[in-house]
Amino acid sequence: MALDALVFQAVNGLASASGLFLVAAGLSIIFGVTRIVNMAHGSFYMFGLYIAVTVADRLPSPFDFWGGVLVAVALTALIGALVELVLLRRIYRAPELYQLLATFALMLVMNDAALWLWGPEDQLGPRAAGLTGTVELLGRRLPDYDIFLALAGPAVLLGLNRLLTRSRFGRLIRAATQDREMVAALGVNEAVLFTAVFALGAGIAGLGGALQMPREPASLTLDLAVLGDAFVVVVIGGMGSIRGAYVAAVIVAQVKALCIALGTVELGGLAFNMSKLTLVAEFLVMALVLVVRPHGLFGRPAPATRIHASAVEAPLVPLGPGGRGAALAAIALFAAMPLIGDSFAYAPVLAQDVLIAVLFAASLHFIMGPGGMASFGHAAYFGLGAYGAAYAFLTLGVSTPAALVLGPAIAGLGAVVFGWFSVRLEGVYFAMLTLAFAQIVWSIVFQWEEVTGGSNGLFGVWPEGVLESPTGFYLASFALVLAGVLVLRRLAFSPFGHALRAARDSALRAQASGIDIARVRWLAFIIAGTLCGLAGTLFAFAKGSISPEAISVGRSIDALVMVLLGGVQSLLGPLFGASAFTLLQDTVMRETAYWRALLGALMIAVVLLFPGGIAGGLSDIAARLRRAAGRP
């Protein structure tokens, strides 16, 4: 390992760090003031790059590059301001989870907007006039532009620092970060401040994107990729700390650079390619930091926010006679599906998808509803189950029933490990860490070709024996899903389920009553992970294959949408939500190229108009009917 290679990668790392920092800084400023984690932040970065490329294309050299950057910053800031005015303003008082989902929906919409505006092809911009040369460093040629980028990060950091400490606007931002209510009480126009802050954050992200012009093409996958990186950086640095964001960006970029520089290393006779670690490295650093410092390197515990009245969930009530009848009818319908299949061949296939989605969503709901822990990485356990079962079945040659046990067991084991770390964190940090763990699982699956088949996945996972016939497998999976749903329901009513609700309702009160919150949450996480693993196992056998796509971040978000669509406050919610979502996906979304925008619009509609979801809507209607019947 030569020193020059290390130095070369280190400078390269600093250049990457600047890019990371620019996205993370905006995210951090927006969070600090508005308390919103902007899931759409990567979209502003992506838009910045697209706009810069488009504008640069139409300008004469040498103004092309710099003109593109300037216009990109101005336009992304403007779009940011518009988004704040139209969408965010309506959700500041909504529960954290809804804010995360609304901004994620915004990301989906913006992604399709980019697809519509610029098409699916990647677009490469011009190089920066005046910075096209290279300098020689330790015998290697280093692009001028990388050195410029390496310096751009610290320059923006200093500029922001100056803005925050010297200007009235900056002082207001800092004051609002400390105590938002007080700033409002002092007569500062909060609305204008929030819009300005959002525009500033979006503009910085746009700058970050635009400056990548000579290094990478504009593409539609950038938003999610950058978002993941930015989260990691902000969480490591500490939410709301700009200095922390820079330090964290440097750490992450350097760790990645080091992995690349080290290349293949021999460890105990085993050759291991360190560069493969780059996908996971940042998440490992984040997990490590969060365990040692739950609020990040420079973060502080969230400032005391006064509790806003939010809708409190109603106590659990067993189903009445009507509800029982409906449940039995639904069970009968699903059990009779193979018969219906004689006339509608597609019905059992769709029913199978619905069943798997139901268990996927119901297991997430268990930790998200009663547990109050919104996991943004539930697909990880789906994947562990699916890959675990497929591997055991294909490579170890176990029987189908044994694979049906092994898959969930492996997912459960994953939940034991990841859950132990995750349940110690609250709210946004919990969401981020679960997302990080899911990304680790995804990366390992993607790269460990010998076991997982890499990007192709595993094939030929067809059930054997009595389960070989489609009807046999359908009925078996129906029985398993039904059992899983009933177990979750039983648990919700049990003392354990109430202990979980107690920890969510008031952690202080629960602890003062002697409830071991961490253990209760951990066990709930393991149960949810195991049952989600069962859903994944069934998925692998139903499709005969499993690929990394089925366990991506997008799938984790699908699960969240199913739960919310159905209604997070009801045990029946995830059942409705999963069914509706699957049917919708199967019908409408297959027909259009812009299904992301459609899904995004659906999510925003749920958050803004029907926060109770389908179950909430149904019980409203039922209550209205009862009232109407009560009056003569």
Binding site: V312, E313, A314, P315, L316, R490, L491, F493, S494, P495, F496, G497, H498, A499, R501, A502, R504, D505, S506, L508, R509, A510, Q511, A512, S513, G514, I515, D516, I517, V520, L523
Partner: protein
Amino acid sequence: MIAPVLQVEQLAKSYGGVRALDGVSFDIRPGELLALIGPNGAGKSTCFNIVNGQLRPDAGTVRILGRDATGLPPRAIARLGVGRTFQIAAVFGSMTVVENVQIAWLAAHRTVFAFWNPLANRHRAEALELLEQTGMAELADRPAASLAYGDVKRLELAVALAGNPKLLLMDEPTAGMSTAERGALIALVKALTTERGLAVLFTEHSMDVVFGHADRVIVLARGRLIADGSVDAVRADPKVREVYLGSGLASGERR
């Protein structure tokens, strides 16, 4: 002589360079209603939070029922037989009144890790009995989130009593209540103290409540204990008069 339920010795705690508590010692015996008072910034909250386990002292010991409880987390303190109510009453909003007490009862008996039989069937009679004692039995099946604040306070008291504690820690038990409600609640606590041989430590801003109901009063000022005695003795104590009247707070406190 009866052994004290709580023994606090030489507690000290500093924040930065500021001494919030400095050599504070006191104890409580069964059946005693002990008020902890002092002007703002005297160290009441610090003292209270060390006893309930939310803060760790720099020096000194906390003994509960003879056992060293210094620096134990809140959950471990609860398990030693300590019940607790909060300044802003905390109950489990998504459960009914009786379920609140049932889950607390199970937690105190270490049986929350039970997965099959519904909570609704477990120890409902015991929970109703406790609700009877705090005057909440009629509201047993109402959602806790729908209660008026005075009732939330009574429910929280029943939840705290579910563990059959020997020591009850109450942080400003009457904060946010009307004058009539205050008297009723503290009279209830007083009756329970006598009935159950319970020891109660409470902080309080309302001097009417303190001087009307406490058995004994301890006074903190600038982190030090300046008085410890009966209501009358503390009322007459020149040091106490100086701290309150001298700092001009007396009129504000005498409501």
